[in-house]
């Protein structure tokens, strides 16, 4: 006698994965396909044991060291731009290499591969994002903002702002203000 079966591969894989994780006595949630959130961190040895056990049943842990490193680069850039007053003394490449202990070439390659932008472009995006916040706060003049963000002049910042957003800084400021006014009017009309 023959019987014919078909597989719900996803459901099967989930069952197998659960069985393995349970056998390690771990607390976890499965979020979406292929992501396991562990409630507690694992020791290096335990992590290797788990990786081996999973590999035996055909499940492989994705190496996310590159994604982690790219994330660290982002955080370092944000810290550099927002908090580190001494950062302008160094070239960005030297700064990042020094903080993260990798060559800039390596960082740069990993970053572009995982985030789809270059480090240089990410720095510009972050600076313009900061400039936007300062423009909206409206406490500093435009040339003070340029100085704070280490642009040689306000026209240099202005040009980079326009290139990144397609808007001039003053146009941006006007639009955001009007948007807020509109929202306030709408909220009042609801009440």
């Amino acid at each position: 006698m023959n019987i014919y079966v078909k597989f719900d591969v996803n459901a099967i894989c989930k069952q197998v994965l659960k069985k393995q994780l349970d056998s390690f006595g771990l607390e976890y949630t499965l979020s979406g396909i292929g992501e396991v959130k562990l409630t507690d961190d694992l020791s290096k040895d335990k992590e290797q044991e788990l990786a081996d056990a999973l590999e035996n049943v055909g499940i492989f842990i994705v190496d996310d060291t590159k994604a982690k490193l790219a994330h660290q680069v982002k955080e370092t850039i944000i810290h550099m731009i927002y908090n580190d007053k001494e950062a302008h003394r160094y070239k960005t490449s030297t700064y990042l290499a020094g903080k993260l202990n990798y060559s800039y070439t390596h960082l740069s390659n990993v970053f572009s591969q995982t985030t789809l932008v270059s480090i240089e472009n990410f720095i510009i995006l972050t600076k313009i994002d900061y400039a936007k916040k300062l423009i909206i706060e409206n406490k500093l003049s435009f040339s003070e903002i340029a100085h704070k963000l280490n642009y040689s002049s306000s026209s240099h910042l202005s040009a980079q702002f326009k290139k990144t957003t397609g808007l001039t800084p003053s146009n941006f400021q006007r639009l955001v203000r009007k948007r807020k006014e509109r929202r306030i009017v709408l909220e009042k009309s609801v009440i």
Binding site: D129, K132, K133, G166
Partner: protein, 148 residues
């Protein structure tokens, strides 16, 4: 990160433009999934229906019958459930008044429809890549305004 996909919706009443758009989305460096709606009402009905993944990014043609892009924009922005969605308006109009009005009504992106395919491709790629940065980095999404 490559296993993530960006879910995109497009509403355009012009069949040629829809096809052009679909073609322009090919060969992007980001995995995307695209749902296409033939007009604004279809899109709104879809968004309001239960149990489905919300798009991260919506492209809206400004000039559509039944429900215009502007009306869709205002409806979507009027509901906080949709506040995480990036809205890109595209139109043949390059009148400053139209552009101002879309940004003030809560659009993130305004694209003046280019008349050649390569430029359109470039514009779409720029919007998607920029949106991806807002999606994956600590950038202030409420200040995401882009004019192409």
């Amino acid at each position: 990160m490559s296993e993530n996909t960006l879910y995109i919706a497009l509403a355009d009443d012009d069949a040629d433009d829809r096809l052009l758009f679909r073609n322009a989305m090919e060969n992007l460096r980001i995995n995307t999934e695209l749902s296409i709606f033939n007009n604004g009402q279809e899109l709104i009905d879809y968004l309001n229906s239960p149990n489905h993944r919300l798009p991260e990014l919506i492209f809206l043609d400004l000039n559509m019958p039944v429900k215009t892009g502007m009306e869709c924009l205002k409806e979507i922005r009027g509901d906080s459930i949709f506040s995480d969605i990036t809205i890109a308006i595209y139109s043949t109009s390059s009148s400053e008044r139209d552009i101002d009005e879309t940004f003030i009504s809560g659009a993130n992106v305004y694209i003046s429809k280019p008349n050649n395919f390569d430029k359109l491709k470039e514009a779409i790629a720029k919007v998607i890549e920029m949106n991806w940065q807002y999606h994956t980095s600590r950038l202030a999404k409420e200040n995401f305004l882009l004019r192409i």
